[in-house]
C-alpha cells in the first residue's frame, strides 16, 4: 500500500462520520438557533468542529495501524497517509464552516457569531483567509492531540495506562483550580487571536508539529498488539 492509497483509504474512512456530522449541524441550524448569538466571537459550529476533530484524532490510530500492517504497509506510509488525510479534512472543514457561516449570516441573516467576524483586519478577503488559516491550524493541533493520546495509550501497558490516565485527569482538575485567579489573563489569551490571527496560527502550527513529531517517535517502532 503506497501513501496515495493510504491517504485515499483514511479519507474514505471518515466520509460517513463527516456526512453525519454536517447533517446534524444543519438540522440544529434548521430547528433552532441554540446558543448562537451574533455578539459572540465563537459559534457552536466552530467549537463542535474542534471537538469532532479531537475525537476523530483519537479514533484514527488503532484500526488504521493494524489494517496497514495487514496489507504489507509500513508505519511510515501509515503516518504520511494520516497526515495528508488529516490535513485535507482540517482544511476542508475550515472551508465548509466558513461557507456555512457566510451563507447563514450574510445571505440568510441568521444570527450566528464567529471568530471570523471579530478578526481585526479591515480587508474582508484577507480576514476570511486569516480565519480559515487560523481554524486549519487549530483543528490540526487538536486532531494531533487526539492522535497522540491514542497512540500513546496504545503503546503503554496496562499499568502505564492507569498511571498516565490518572495523572492526566488529576492535572486537568488541578489546572481548573489553579487558573481561576488568572482569569483576566486567560481572557486576554482568548482575545489575542482576533488581533493577531497569523501569529496564533503560527503558534498552533508549531505546537502541532511538535505533537506530530512526538507521535512519529511513538509510532515508528510500535509493536502491533493482538488483543
Amino acid at each position: 500500500m503506497n501513501t496515495a492509497t493510504s491517504f485515499r483509504l483514511q479519507l474514505k474512512e471518515c466520509r460517513s462520520a463527516l456526512t453525519i456530522y454536517y447533517i446534524i449541524i444543519l438540522l440544529i441550524f434548521a430547528i433552532a438557533s441554540i446558543g448562537m448569538s451574533s455578539d459572540s466571537s465563537t459559534s457552536g459550529l466552530e467549537a463542535s468542529t474542534a471537538w469532532f476533530l479531537f475525537v476523530y484524532g483519537m479514533n484514527t490510530f488503532r484500526a488504521n495501524f493494524l489494517f496497514h500492517l495487514q496489507f504489507g504497509s509500513t508505519r511510515k506510509t501509515l503516518f504520511k497517509g494520516w497526515l495528508f488525510s488529516t490535513g485535507t479534512i482540517c482544511l476542508g472543514m475550515s472551508l465548509i464552516n466558513l461557507i456555512l457561516l457566510l451563507v447563514l449570516s450574510l445571505l440568510l441573516h441568521f444570527p450566528i457569531g464567529s471568530f471570523v467576524f471579530s478578526i481585526q483586519i479591515d480587508n474582508v478577503f484577507l480576514r476570511l483567509i486569516a480565519g480559515t488559516v487560523y481554524y486549519f491550524c487549530e483543528y490540526l493541533m487538536l486532531t494531533s492531540v487526539g492522535y497522540l493520546i491514542t497512540s500513546g495509550f496504545y503503546r503503554l501497558n496496562k499499568t502505564g495506562k492507569w498511571i498516565v490516565g490518572t495523572l492526566m485527569g488529576g492535572c486537568g482538575m488541578l489546572a481548573i483550580f489553579l487558573i481561576e485567579p488568572f482569569e483576566s489573563y486567560i481572557d486576554a489569551i482568548f482575545l489575542y487571536p482576533s488581533s493577531h490571527p497569523f501569529i496564533v496560527s503560527g503558534i498552533f502550527l508549531v505546537v502541532a508539529a511538535m505533537i506530530l513529531s512526538f507521535c512519529w517517535l511513538l509510532i515508528r517502532k510500535m509493536p502491533a498488539k493482538t488483543a
Binding site: L66, L69, G72, S73, T74, K221, A224
Partner: protein
C-alpha cells in the same frame, strides 16, 4: 527469492518467545510450521511481517532487511486469526487487494468465494468464525505473492470447507508455485501436503528438514499384540494403540528384519511430532 532469519530472538518481558532462530525459505515449497502452543510460531510470522521488531537478529529478503521495508513486505502475505480487515466486506477487500498486490487474481478469488458459498456483501466483522477463515483463505489463495504464510488457516471451518481449502491450496500452488508456510495444529490433516517440516520447540528450531527424510526416521508395525510386543522389545517405541486384538506401534530407528506376521507402514508426522516435542522441559 530468499527469506532468511539470522539469529532471531524475541523477548516479551522475562519470556523469550524465540531464541536464536536461524531459518531459510527460498524454494517454492509447502512448508509446515509446527510446534506446541507457545512454541513461537505466531511470533516468528509476526516478526517476518513487520508486526513486531526482533530483540536481536535480523530478517532479510534477498539481503534486504524486511523491517519497515514496503517493497519486501509486498512479497509476503500473512493471514492469521487476528488479521485486521476492518469493517470491509469481501467485495471491497477483493478490490483493495487487486489494487495493492499486482499478482492478485481477482477472478480466481471470486471463483473460490463462490465455491465456498461466501457472502461477498457481508462485512468481515459480521461473518461467523468459519466464514472469516474462508474469506482469509480465498484472499490468500489468490494473492500469489512469492511468500504466503497461513497461520491456522482452517480455524472454525467445517470438514467440507477444510477439504475444499486443502484442494484449492494444491490447485493454486500447482498453478503458481510459491513458498507457502502453513502453521497449524491439525498435523494429520496437512501431513500429505507438506514438503518440508519446521518444528519449533520452546522458541528454538528443533527440526528443519524434508518430510520424506523426517518420516524415514521411523516406521509402524501392526499385528497380534504378542507378536508386536516380541518384535518391539529393546526398540525405541514412540507410541502404541490397541484395537481389539490388534496392536499398532510406532518405532523410531532403522527398520530391521520384520517377521511375516507383522505389517509395516510408514510413521505419521503427528506421532513423530508428539514424540519430539512431548517432553515437559526443553531438551
Amino acid at each position: 527469492m530468499k527469506l532468511s532469519c539470522h539469529n532471531l530472538t524475541r523477548k516479551f518481558g522475562d519470556t523469550t518467545a524465540l531464541n536464536g532462530v536461524n531459518l531459510c525459505l527460498d524454494e517454492p515449497k509447502i512448508y509446515g510450521l509446527l510446534g506446541r502452543n507457545g512454541a513461537g510460531k505466531t511470533t516468528l510470522l509476526r516478526l517476518i511481517t513487520n508486526y513486531i521488531q526482533p530483540t536481536e537478529g535480523s530478517i532479510t529478503l534477498d539481503e534486504q532487511n524486511v523491517w519497515e521495508n514496503e517493497k519486501a513486505q509486498h512479497q509476503i502475505f500473512l493471514v492469521t486469526e487476528t488479521s485486521y480487515f476492518a469493517e470491509m466486506n469481501a467485495h471491497k477487500l477483493i478490490q483493495l487487494m487487486s489494487e495493492i498486490y499486482p499478482s492478485f487474481d481477482k477472478q480466481q478469488c471470486l471463483d473460490y468465494a463462490k465455491r465456498f458459498e461466501l457472502d461477498l456483501n457481508k462485512k468481515y466483522t459480521a461473518l461467523s468464525t468459519g466464514y472469516k477463515s474462508v474469506l482469509r483463505a480465498v484472499l490468500s489463495l489468490s494473492v500469489h505473492t512469492p511468500f504466503l504464510f497461513l497461520d491456522e488457516p482452517t480455524l472454525g471451518m467445517d470438514a467440507f470447507h477444510r477439504e475444499l481449502f486443502y484442494k484449492l491450496l494444491i490447485e493454486s500452488y500447482s498453478e503458481s508455485p510459491s513458498c507457502i508456510l502453513l502453521s497449524t495444529h491439525l498435523i494429520s490433516e496437512v501431513e500429505g501436503l507438506l514438503e518440508n517440516v519446521i518444528i519449533l520447540d520452546h522458541g528454538k528450531v528443533l527440526i528443519d528438514e524434508s518430510s520424506e527424510q523426517l518420516l524415514a526416521q521411523g516406521y509402524c508395525v501392526s499385528g497380534r499384540i504378542s507378536d508386536v510386543d516380541d518384535y518391539c522389545s529393546g526398540k525405541n517405541v514412540i507410541g502404541s494403540s490397541v484395537v481389539g486384538g490388534l496392536k499398532t506401534t510406532a518405532i523410531l530407528g532403522e527398520r530391521e528384519q520384520v517377521p511375516d506376521t507383522l505389517e509395516v507402514t510408514g510413521l505419521s508426522l503427528q506421532q513423530l511430532f508428539v514424540q519430539l516435542v512431548g517432553s515437559e522441559n526443553p531438551s
